[in-house]
Subunit: 303 residues, 2 copies
């Protein structure tokens, strides 16, 4: 077991290696065709994941694995999911299982068992808070015991966030603020080695309008003591500037996820038809370095 909480480890990783979270949302068609044909379906996905981990290990903070991409391939897909998590662990990396699970009491405890031990053990998970804090608390108990962590969905990067997350409640606060405020309450008594709590928040980077940029500033200021997982970079439309709005002034306090723009960067190479796993992993590395540096150069909010 690790001696420190997963989000403390993430804090150190960001300080050492920058803010990039490499998203291993690896569909078979993201693997260069030559390699995919030679190795075949799920085996090719596993080899590509391992090659990307090897090629990016010293230039990214962590890996986020989107379980849906593996569930879609059934039992064979989940075997690759399990082995990918195992490979990251073996290398001493930090894994975020993007599972967005939600359930209550005993069922939440079953999910925590599933994703904090055994075949699907990860360091950190993502959780959906809709059902209430009693759907979050079982994960908190298990995280304390096993030094794990979770990012709770706050304001996501899709347009539909306005439907429910972004609704104003009768208290005047947005629904997502109720989520953040309740999370702060329940973790405020925890002592950690970093400036951040043992659980953090998912906050999308896609702040296109002035209004949304202002929201992003407010969120960063209000939840300064919570670590953010920031999706929506690259293919989803957010840039380094939007993402950096959600970091603290020391450029820590958040990891920025990109998936397709890293995994498929080989498609933009001079000769994509001749790409193989090894050259694609090298493209991924270059994409991560470019992203890391772009975030590092972008201004962070000043309060």
């Amino acid at each position: 077991m690790n001696a420190e909480f997963s989000i403390d480890r993430l804090y150190r990783a960001v300080a050492e290696k920058g803010n990039v979270c490499v998203g291993l949302d690896t569909l078979p068609e993201y693997v260069p065709e030559q390699s995919l044909r030679r190795i075949g379906g799920t085996g090719a996905v596993l080899q590509y994941n391992e090659a990307v981990v090897d090629a990016t290990f010293d230039v990214c903070a962590c890996y986020k694995i989107q379980i849906a991409c593996y569930e879609a391939q059934g039992l064979a897909g989940l075997d690759v999911y399990s082995k990918t998590l195992g490979y990251i662990k073996k290398r001493g990396g930090i894994s975020i299982a993007d599972i967005k699970r939600s359930d209550i009491a005993d069922t939440a405890a079953q999910y925590a068992k599933a994703h904090f031990s055994g075949d699907f053990e990860a360091d950190i998970v993502t959780l959906n808070p809709y059902m209430g804090m009693d759907s979050i608390e079982p994960w908190l108990c298990e995280s304390r015991k096993k030094k794990k962590g979770a990012f709770v969905l706050l304001r996501t990067s899709n347009k539909g966030y306005r439907d429910f997350e972004g609704q104003r409640t009768e208290t005047g606060r947005y629904l997502y603020e109720l989520v953040g405020d309740r999370l702060l309450e329940v973790i405020s008594n925890e002592t950690t080695n970093s400036p951040y709590g043992i659980f953090g928040l998912v906050v999308g980077a896609e702040s296109k309008t002035g209004y949304e940029r202002e929201q992003a500033r407010v969120i960063r200021k209000k939840y300064g003591s919570l670590f953010f997982l920031i999706p929506g970079y690259g293919t989803q439309g957010g840039g380094a500037e939007e993402a950096a709005l959600l970091l603290n002034s020391d450029k820590n306090g958040g990891v920025v996820n990109a998936s397709r723009s890293i995994l498929k960067s080989w498609c933009l190479s001079d000769d994509p038809k001749n790409a193989v796993i090894e050259t694609a992993a090298e493209s991924a590395r270059n994409a991560v370095i470019a992203m890391r540096d772009a975030i590092f150069s972008a201004p962070t909010p000043v309060f």
Copy 2:
């Protein structure tokens, strides 16, 4: 492929066999000890699931399988999950995969592929709406193509529902009403064979206070054209009376789920130490019949 939408099939099943949804949230410790020792872990769970399906097939409407209980056992557990779904399908039954998944766009489409085809194919799924309607719509597309269905979380049966689901928004409506209203909008153009839409709602039965009972009546009236999945019966504290409040006056329009109170009813038999899978399945059948009849005798709301 089935010729009619899954919720239309459910409507017919309720008319023929009553409102009980048997929850196969089967943990190894729910299997009688003798059988568990003889067969061992996940194999015993599969045999017990099949025996319960056989014993209850003519007295219940459908089966709900809580995936968390299987994910907790890793790949071997998900193999049993897959085989349980396959067994229900082979018998011509209706399966509800209680997965409460939530994600957007491409990722939602991956989840829909995972749970509407292949190893984990079910007839109906449960979904969490927090991220917005663009997290629901990909499931709707797939459901139209494959005659599947989904129940979207509205107001759940846990205490924590008050934290977010039960918050009043600045429009005066509860958050859960925004969810229900938006769902009605997106499915209102679908034509079905029953009085119900192709997607329904999850509404918890645990209405203990007068205020919550009134809320239940309002929910049933407002969403009269949506089919309900009603959890919270039995071990979770709701009774036949609370559940029936959420049915329409013809006793259709909803299925009531119970899991532990059915799967573990053998523990209350005269001689639980000598129970085996066969006798436990018979106890499960008796528990389902008692529950079906109690719901049938309970008053439904009059508008």
